[in-house]
Symmetry: C2
Subunit: 551 residues, 2 copies
């Protein structure tokens, strides 16, 4: 009988636990599932990316046996370039995921040193005590997989991001049969996607979108421009199929869309009749009624092709009356304002715009509640950990699991850094490891902290006022009037009066200053009086910085 | 035959045209409909409020005859305190709206000079050439009204914010009969609420929510805490009714909820059995199963009562296992993150949380598409202007109107500041008036401009670096090493190396400086070299401020 526990540790995800990374540990062996990144939340001012905290792996060198990637989305693979600067372990993924990762590692000049491996679903990979098998799942990118992990204590299933889709576009079903086999053998622990654990019923099939797109292409007499995620290859295939069906040519624009289409065609994930996809010249010579444009920008990204079109400054495409723009995507929370600004601008330019609120032109890539119940029913796990969701999603998913058979008390709602220990008798949250947000800002990784973010928030609210005083080294008195400058506080022209009076406030603040007053004291006095004066005058609290120059 | 046109001018609303204010002008007479405010969008850093641009009224003194307020929500009455500092015209509204406005004006010490008038629906008010009649509409606040405005050119109908609700809680129906009469007489122009012009079908009745709340109170054994809008008096009444039905006491918390409940009870808009609403002491002595708490904070407002509960620092209410928290509201776009942070935190504290995605505990206050068609059918207006929506809502609403009978070309999608001129032959967008966003920041009204916001955005992204150099007045050379300080850029401890090297960069930049170099040139040199150095080192672009002190 073993007393070594299996340790399950979610990391990263900005509160969506385990979305970006998950560790499984047993004795001296650790495997990692996904190494993704998240885009910063609103209050993470100036931060470019957020990556998981690798401290635990850093503190336990030599234990990491392998990295397994469930699919090629940024929130599951995007932190690899940062990870591989420090760690070297074999990386396993299916073919398209591997293709996407290799493109990324090449950009970061890490391809030569990284060990990437393409695996097939069903293949077994040994990593320390763990034996890992990929199984296919339906999701919004081809080659998405979940993992079946054989551990000394039993079978663990990690769904990755998934939904059930009985009529998927690229024939990638969630492998229910394999899951049934695992259920028959006995599933110790299920880790399952909670993204849509709030949504009743079923997520509709991708086929629905294909039909909508074809209807639009049939019934629209002008040019049709369709924006979607560059990684949503199946959607691109549906658009190509619809174009072929209606005798339209396809023009592809937007850097990541162009790259992904090229890569997917090369790897055979995307097929198009000869001559269907055209370049700029042929696009220009094609009548609008015979044209479909596939573009990036469905999330309102500021420099994306669709945003350029909406702003009237795309290089090749000028929107005008008669155009129909289709947003084949749902705004990711946080992007709504940017997305709808594009919609408004496209309407203003005279286009007809079809978007999620008024058309069936997108379905989501995650399982809804009835699908989650089916997975529970197939696996009947002894323990359950909801993953890939914010705290409330995890809570409702845990309740769902308990309502369909997981023993009460055996569903664990975890937070990043929590350690669930399972041994052959029980499971419990037994430990915590470091799991901060690691901010990437420019070249800096992890150097931007709460202190810097607080300063940025302060600066963003009411700007900055800088005061420079020159004091006589001997007498400690001002040798000239203080200099005051500001940015983001008041209009420099209109506010010149208040800045003038601010100088007098500074002078008065120093009137009683002793000869040998310490600089800290001078700076403190200036700051206090000036902050108070500015607040009384404006009800604003700019950041006040004071510099004393001794002359 | 008159050639004087009727001029229709929407103002304010942050792109939701006419939401905050609407002007009607005929010859020498202007009337204003609503004087509301909007809360700033994300990129309006540090801005407290946004109010409509009053320039046109300022430029045409003596023309404003009256202000008509459709209902008491902030986005329709909130800018009155700013408006009344400059303009004096009689204000007309129904009783509850007047009560809310008077509370607000009293706070701003404007009550003595303002002329507010309570009107009844059906009453006629003459204002210059305009004759105005209020008619009741169903909306999420009692006493909401639309306006029927008799003009020299015909009848204009302004719906205000409305929906149809055939079983409203406080018996406030949208007055379909009166609208039918107007339709029979002939409606020249309809201005109608577009907020939910994207939503198919009907908005459900408030009654549905009443039933849900009662079910929750019946089926929950612990304490129930319900958060909703303080102005949603009918919802508060439903909670009180449910509490009475289930033998629970009611405790009210949150400043604006306490104030509104008191005001609504005083004016007779809210009724509660004697002794049902209790104070702190009695609340503490009431078992959880016999208690309902009504609170503010449904939008995740940082200092609201519910947010304090979620953060564990509310003065009277400590959330624990057994509590059920009900968010009886939908997050307004932009508030989602704050709302769901509260939900997550409440779950963490052990509460059960019911919110819009998983329960029927809120219905919206605006008409959906089928309701909008009914209004069109009753009025059959000659001209139509969709209002109270973003551009896309206006476009789809205009199309809806044309699809049910408004002559094609007679539906005008306007933007704030556009002037629609209607004479006895035709209508056209004929003019534009000033219609900027006017930002209120602290005591400043309109002084924060794009330039200041750009600086705040810059500061918020990468912080600020301040360089102070002292140069010899005679030689133009540095008299000492430059001083460099930063905020929001790099960690001051960890980044001390880069700030040290920055000083050397400054010194080198000035090496070739001529004796009589102008300060602008010195500052320019420093700024250029330092910005480049910092970007090369960090890939960040802090705002660089330089100050040269001559000694």
């Amino acid at each position: 009988m073993t007393r070594t526990p299996l340790r399950v540790i979610p990391l990263g995800g900005l509160g969506e636990i385990g979305r970006n990374m998950m560790l499984l540990e047993y004795g001296d062996d650790i495997i990692a599932i996904d190494v993704g990144l998240m885009f910063p939340e609103e209050e993470m001012l100036g931060v470019d990316l957020v990556i998981p905290d690798f401290t635990y792996l850093r503190d336990h060198p030599g234990k990491l046996r392998a990295v397994f990637l469930t699919h090629g989305h940024e929130d599951h693979v995007g932190a690899l370039p940062y990870f591989l600067r420090e760690f070297n372990a074999p990386i396993y993924s299916t073919r398209l995921t591997d293709g996407l990762v290799r493109v990324k590692l090449n950009e970061h000049r890490l391809l030569a040193t990284a060990e990437t491996n393409v695996v097939e679903p069903g293949e077994l990979i040994q990593a320390g005590v763990f034996e890992v098998e990929f199984f296919t799942v339906a999701h919004s990118i081809p080659d998405a997989c979940g993992l079946i992990i054989r551990t000394p204590l039993g079978l663990v299933v990690h769904t990755g991001d998934f939904k059930l889709d009985h009529t998927p576009v690229m024939d990638q079903h969630t492998d229910l049969i394999r899951l049934g086999q695992v259920g028959a053998e006995g599933c110790l622990l299920l880790l399952a996607d909670s993204t849509y654990a709030e949504i009743d019923g079923y997520t509709p099939s991708e086929q629905l979108v294909g039909e909508s797109i074809r209807n639009i292409l049939v019934n629209t007499s002008g040019r049709v421009i369709i924006a979607t995620f560059a990684s949503l290859i199946s959607r691109v295939q549906q658009i190509i199929d619809g174009a072929a069906f209606t005798g339209r040519k396809v023009f592809v624009t937007g850097r990541s869309m162009i790259d992904n289409v090229a890569m997917a065609r090369q790897l055979g994930y995307l097929t198009a009749p000869e001559g269907l996809i055209v370049g700029v010249e042929e696009m220009r010579n094609t009548p609008p009624s015979k044209l479909v444009v596939i573009t990036t920008g469905s999330q309102g990204e500021p420099t994306s092709a669709l945003t350029r079109m909406a702003n009237g400054d795309h290089r090749y495409i000028t929107i005008s009356r008669g155009d129909t723009v289709v947003l084949s995507a749902t705004p990711i929370p946080g992007n709504e304002q940017a997305v709808f600004r594009n919609v408004d601008n496209l309407f203003r330019l005279g286009a007809d715009v079809l978007y999620n609120r008024i058309s069936n032109i997108h379905v989501r890539g995650h399982a809804s509640r009835e699908e989650l119940k089916i997975i529970q029913g197939l696996l009947q796990p002894e323990y359950f950990v909801p993953i890939h969701g914010e705290y409330r999603h995890l809570v409702v998913h845990a309740r769902l699991a308990e309502s369909v058979g997981v023993p009460v008390g055996n569903a664990f709602v975890m937070t990043d850094g929590d350690v669930l220990e399972i041994d052959d008798e029980a499971a419990q949250l037994a430990d915590r490891i470091p799991a901060s947000y690691v901010y990437v800002d420019g070249l800096g990784i992890g150097d931007v902290d709460q202190h810097i973010l607080r300063d940025r928030a302060h600066l963003s609210t009411d700007g900055v006022v800088v005061v420079i005083v020159a004091v006589d080294k001997q007498t400690g008195r001002l040798t000239r009037p203080a200099e005051v400058l500001s940015r983001g506080f008041v209009d420099v022209e209109e506010g010149s009066d208040i800045l003038e009076r601010a100088k007098q406030v500074v002078s008065r603040a120093l009137e009683g200053a002793a000869h040998y007053a310490e600089f800290g004291d001078i700076n403190g006095r200036i700051k206090d009086s000036l902050s108070k004066f500015l607040y009384d005058e404006t009800r604003r609290r700019p950041m006040v910085l004071t510099v004393t120059v001794e002359v």
